[in-house]
């Protein structure tokens, strides 16, 4: 029973940075995308971490996060279930936002990073900090935003990436895009397959039940009806079939099949100072867990969501903007351990934005009405103050929440229908310095979350979720990026990220287990003509594994090297050497990640 629970919940317990953020003029709200709450313009008071896969060598979301950020994620072995943890919050406290739609599972409140391919999106960024007011339940630690953009720029693009790696790993990614003045079309698809039988460094054990295979694809289409109106369709479909890795001491023969479908269609209108958009989205997810992969017997669960959303924006005189949004959704979840349940949620939200030459102020309010537990009134107040063209201060405070998941409410046995939403207050203050060749961003943050839902033993081997803990998280995050030309044709780039957080259980005053205090990431790149040499360093501080802080996983540092060579405008090849020193490391006890490994990537662009 417990084992099944572990997998279905892929529990996380609980925590970047490229300084790629382009600092443009602070105060222009002019894009047609403006009704998109994912637009960076609505999050000026935050340091957004834009993720760009410079060498086009990453293929999974865990890869991308590992390479580009000092964000903590927990992975149950390479390619296995993985969850992100921002600022020491739980893995269900980061909302994955797909084209403006909150994508986390209705069943477990999370998104498995290894089944969500980042390939083919034009915009990916991490926003750390409370975001419930824009993205609803679960956005306590932050959001991970993925956007497919539609452009009528009459261009044809084709990109293909093929990758071969250690442990019989094959990844192929294709992105094709074509547009006229009126029509836009994009297809993106990724296939992955790996035997994944990596040895556990220092142990006489292999990852003998870790093979996986998955496909992730989507079609994006747009039609420009006239100057003012546009219709669009976006989709993302994935199917994964994975064995589940053994631990150091426990053999495994289980298997997990997952499917996800995100479909969205919408219409937007913009004329003069008024814009509006309507979205209809359909989301489906399913899990099939085979405790024994050699048998037919398995347990299933699935959820379906229908979502209707309208966002309207008025630009008023004197640099005032008002945004009003409505979102209604129906959620249905069912499975072998969950009887069929339906939940409706209606949210209304409001934003007022005002700026002058130096100041930007945004006030945001949201109220969720839910058929099971009504969400609290949430809100945020955000300020940016421009000291000069190269310095600015930003600050924000927010009230955020997370509704109990279907598993928390209805799982049998254990589900607790009397749970209250988690309640969180957050604040941060940041200082940014941005020169063309040098950027530094620093943020101090504080998060206080109460009523945290945790599965706890109630009697004997009976576990139940309860509103159990109050947790305070505070810390500092810094990113520094440098770009310089050394000599003629020689350039050097460096991106350094450092995060420190202290996450305390308010009652015991102990550090929360499974949350590192210190995280660091550095990317150093030398380019000479058509060659680029990249060195990647990743540090993770020790992680306590007991609530009394008596046991911990040691800290580790990893070093990767890669050499990219651009043959011509069409072809580029990259050779990567990962975990050069064959370091043993794990983010979950007894679940080692690979030692030294190799990859060769071939990119083609037309």
């Amino acid at each position: 029973m417990y084992k099944v629970v572990i997998f279905i919940f892929f529990i996380g317990i609980f925590s970047s940075i490229t300084a790629q953020t382009k600092i443009k003029s602070l105060y222009v709200l002019d894009s047609i995308h403006i009704t998109a709450l994912t637009s960076k313009k609505w999050h000026k008071a935050y340091h957004l971490i834009t993720l760009k896969d410079t060498l086009l060598t990453t293929s999974t979301l865990t890869d991308l996060l590992f390479n580009k950020t000092a964000v903590f994620y927990k992975e149950y072995g390479r390619g296995m279930i993985a969850g992100i943890s921002l600022r020491g919050t739980g893995t269900s406290h980061t909302q994955i936002v797909w084209n403006g739609i909150s994508g986390n599972s209705v069943l477990n409140g999370q998104t498995d990073l290894n089944t969500f391919s980042p390939a083919g999106f034009e915009t990916i960024y991490i926003k750390k900090g409370g975001s419930s007011v824009s993205f609803g339940s679960g956005a306590i630690g932050g959001v991970l935003v993925f956007e497919d953009r539609i452009k009528f720029d009459q261009k044809f693009n084709l990109q293909n990436q093929s990758k071969l790696g250690s442990f019989e790993t094959l990844v192929n990614t294709l992105r094709v895009e074509n547009s006229t003045q009126q029509l836009y079309f994009k297809f993106k698809g990724q296939f992955q397959k790996s035997k994944n039988d990596y040895p556990y460094p220092g142990y006489n054990v292999k990852n003998e039940n870790g093979a996986y295979q998955g496909i992730d694809y989507g079609v994006i289409a747009g039609y420009k009806i006239n100057t003012y109106q546009q219709w669009y369709f976006k989709s993302k479909i994935s199917n994964w079939d994975r064995e589940t890795s053994r631990t150091l001491y426990m053999p495994e023969n289980a298997r997990l099949k997952t499917a996800n479908q995100y479909l969205l269609t919408g219409w937007k209108y913009k004329k003069d100072l008024f814009s509006t958009k309507f979205d209809v989205a359909w989301l489906y997810e399913s899990f099939s867990y085979y405790n024994n992969k050699y048998l037919e017997a398995h347990t299933d669960s699935n959820s379906k969501r229908l979502l209707l959303k309208n966002v309207t924006l008025w630009q008023l005189p004197h640099q005032n903007k008002i945004l009003l949004g409505n979102e209604w959704q129906a959620q249905i979840g069912e499975g072998d351990y969950i009887k069929r349940h339906t939940r409706h949620n209606y949210a209304v939200f409001f934003i007022w934005s005002k700026n002058n030459a130096r100041w930007l102020t945004q006030l945001k309010l949201r109220k969720d009405f839910n058929s099971v537990q009504t969400g609290p009134l949430t809100g945020a107040a955000e300020w940016v103050y421009k000291l000069s063209n190269t310095h600015k201060i930003r600050a924000n405070v927010s009230h955020n929440f997370r509704l109990p998941t279907f598993n928390d409410l209805y799982w049998q046995p254990g589900g607790n229908p009397d749970l209250n939403p988690e309640d969180s207050y957050a604040g941060e203050i940041g200082y940014d310095i941005f020169f063309p060749h040098f950027k530094i961003n620093t943020t101090l943050f504080y998060i206080h979350t109460s009523n945290l839902i945790k599965w706890v033993p109630v009697s004997g081997d009976f576990w139940q979720p309860q509103n159990f803990e109050t947790v305070t998280s505070q810390g500092v995050e810094t990113t520094i990026s440098v770009f310089t030309t050394l000599f003629k044709n020689w350039t050097l780039e460096d991106e350094l990220s450092l995060n420190y957080h202290k996450v305390l259980n308010n009652e015991t005053q102990k550090l929360l287990p499974f949350t590192p205090q210190l995280l660091g990431n550095n990317n150093l790149r030398f380019s000479y003509r058509k060659c680029q040499l990249a060195y990647h360093f990743h540090y993770q501080g020790k992680i306590y594994t007991t609530t009394t802080n008596t046991k911990y996983l040691p800290s580790y540092q990893l070093h990767d090297l890669s050499l990219a060579f651009r043959l011509n405008t069409h072809w580029q090849s990259t050779l990567s050497l990962k975990n050069i020193f064959n370091t043993y490391y794990e983010t979950i006890p007894s679940r080692p990640l690979p030692g030294r490994s190799y990859e060769i990537t071939l990119n083609f662009k037309l």
Binding site: M250, T546, P589
Partner: protein, 354 residues
Amino acid sequence: MKKINLFLLLSLLIGLSACEKDTIEDDPGDFVSGIFVVNEGQFMHGNASLSFTDEQLAVVQNDIYKTVNNADLGDQAQSIGFTDENAYIVVTGSNKIEVTDAGTMEKIVTIASGLTNPRYFETISTSTALVTCWGDPSVSTDDYLAIVNLNTNEVSGQIPVELGPEKMVKNDDYLFIAHQGAWGTNNKVSVYDMILNKIINVLNVGDRPNSMVIKDNYLWVLCGGEPSWTGNETAGQLYKIDINNNFNIDAIFNFETTEHPAFLSLDRDNLYYYLDSKVYQMPVTVTDLPATEFLSYNGAAYNMEAYNGKLYITDALDYQQEGTITGFDLASGQQIGTKTLGLIPGDIAFHIEE
């Protein structure tokens, strides 16, 4: 500071044992007489461990397997059994038994094949032991007893049994196997004849038989009943079975439907069991369940055993920190002490030199 203390303690322990080995002939070992507690460790975290203490809970040595052998014990250690010379630590998640010297805890060999989700170990002769095994817990028909050849420390065969074999008790002739039901539920006790070397009877008892004791030719079986979360709640029951009279049921003591007792234990002429943070004492001669508790425990017991005038309760606390053992004097009902053990302390084994 803590680190330094721990370091000192460790080096002291190692120094001590090294010293003894150098100087004493026929070293009886460091763990000759005392109480072993098997700490299950967290599910799939590979942090099972073994603790050792004395009857007064004066001194506890934690992590003794790792300290002696410089190796992790494995995932979900369930129980420990003994022969005259050896200890057999049954590690469910790792599908193995670590065989060690009972006195020094030095590893002799690992029994790594023929065991699928092994639970408990019991000898049936000087050369043979049986180990209850669940097989694949998602399959209800592959449960078995593994036959362990104690001379070679290998599994030499299997005896198929009913679903979910768990704890065992024995007298001179019979070994009784409680079928609690593994991931499911069951209501059987198998009777293994140690002379005929086969299962001669399967007794029907209440739902989820979780613990047994034998006193004067009577087998007492405590059945927890189906808990409420199953949606099919049944009352706990205590069965008294007459071993010499064809295993006939001598008496059944019924609990309330919402009562699910556990951890039946025997000391002298009294039975002890645990129910909702209370310990009950019941003379084996009485005809009714006790109306009031013998003592209250401030916590949630993960296991409980009585021995030699004392009662020991382990507590897993929140399952994410080291658990505890608390001892009570059975004459006075007073607590004698509490000590911190490893993660999720379960099986309590008395290996006392008389």
